[in-house]
Symmetry: C2
Subunit: 244 residues, 2 copies
DNA sequence: CGAAACGTTGAATGGTTTCAACAAGAGTGG
DNA sequence: CCACTCTTGTTGAAACCATTCAACGTTTCG
């Protein structure tokens, strides 16, 4: 019996591991401290220490780094169901900033609560760490994309990956998904100029592959897009954490 | 009293945390299973599971991903003192390959031994996890470099970072260091073509900043290079793991 | 000696950026 | 309610950075 309104994180983890009632209860308790953040105002800045982690339940966040010359590189996006700042708590190395792309609802997770939850339910701990390693794999794939894919394939890959992530929490399908990002976000994430992002999007649209418009991504030719991007979701669709 | 011939990893950790005799002993025991690998033959392949971790004591390794179209992106290099495949053991998500750049000496670390060591000496565990988070920060910085730095600054930043890492284990200084990488390695790491790497290196050389030649990097104008690269070693020179 | 790996250089091509200008909608304050 | 500004999106033309192709030199190694 799944909860009436499972949180996105619960949904995501449940897609890979069958969680017991007790584990679901602990997970639910982690969602206790609800917090809100308004779009555009950073949740945390580079160099700030002692910050909490969050579980995103609604809204989008991006984690980025600003360079001395003012250019920005977005490292990753967080969508509902994603952890945010997990490594900062576990390992204390947050040298980037977090900006809510839209208004955000999140649960604050204190270090103590997290460690306690881990101690109580090792299987849950494994599942969460597995999710963290999945995030890391995405950063690596992101690096590969920027380094070795041309703009069209890079964009296609990005839109497909986002779609897969959202599908996992019921917010997207092979038809498309809602996406509040601006072309500037895409530019800063993909290492392109905003102008070129616009052109690439037009090409993809005119090729009948995808449309990115008015806050919505629509896949017109999913498999064609997969071909263009050479999208291999192996790094996303893992067999799940190794649990006995 | 430091050991007569401290391992590079011991050296590195000691630069940030004062380890007790007992902790040093545990660390030494982790170095027990010595293994050798010859240059060019992969230590592990993409998709392979159930692999051990290694502590590099001599030689260089690169971790990379091959794309369907044959292009390669090097994600990171490992130099003596670095862990290799740590995340694969802790979290099981190694979707990239490891190639020894030169002949390599490493200590194999079995999952069980590592967990046992962690249980025995929590401070050592924290120190090692801190080192892992530092590696992660380098991958993020690498992503930023590829996405938002032009070729010259990217190369300069890369050479400087490598220098800092090597200095930590006594294998480099602000004068320079030995570096067995080929221009092809640089190209695959920096997301450039080998031809352009050659040109960029020439420019840097002719500007009197650095020379990369015959397996040796020589800094001619360290601070000039730092300026060009906008190199801010904050993500490397952390205050160390938070230990009580 | 021949092959293979690495380095070097030129010329042509092309993907991307920059600069510039304009359009449309949202929000703001008078 | 209407100017006004700000953000976001759009498009063209010129400039530029980087790639590709091609050729050649050097060294290493079997």
């Amino acid at each position: 019996m799944t909860p009436l309104a499972a949180s996105p994180l619960t949904r995501k983890l449940s897609a890979f591991v069958a969680l017991s009632e007790a584990e679901l209860a602990v997970l639910a308790r982690l969602h206790g401290r609800r917090r809100s953040f308004v779009a555009g105002r950073d949740m945390a800045h580079q160099g700030q220490s002692d910050q909490a982690a969050f579980i995103l339940s609604a809204g989008w966040v991006c984690s980025y780094k600003i360079q001395p010359d003012g250019t920005r590189q977005i490292v990753d996006f967080q969508v509902p169901g994603d952890f945010l700042g997990l490594r900062s708590v576990l390992l204390r190395t947050s040298d980037h900033s977090f900006e809510p792309v839209v208004d955000v609802e999140a649960a604050e997770v204190l270090t103590g609560d997290l460690l306690e939850a881990f101690a109580q339910t090792p299987r849950l701990a494994t599942a969460i760490l597995w999710a963290a390693s999945r995030d890391e794999a995405m950063v690596v794939e992101h690096l590969v994309g920027i380094g070795r894919r041309e703009a069209g394939a890079r964009m296609a890959h990005f839109l497909l990956e986002l779609g897969s992530r959202l599908a996992l929490v019921g917010m997207g399908s092979k038809e498309g998904y809602d996406c509040p990002l601006t072309q500037y976000h895409l530019a800063d994430a993909l290492g392109l100029s905003a102008v070129h992002v616009n052109r690439v999007l037009r090409q993809l649209r005119e090729s009948g592959l995808v449309t990115f418009r008015d806050g919505h991504v629509t896949f017109h030719d999913y498999s064609g897009l997969v071909d263009l991007a050479e999208f291999d979701p192996a790094y996303l669709d893992q067999t799940g954490p190794l649990l006995k």
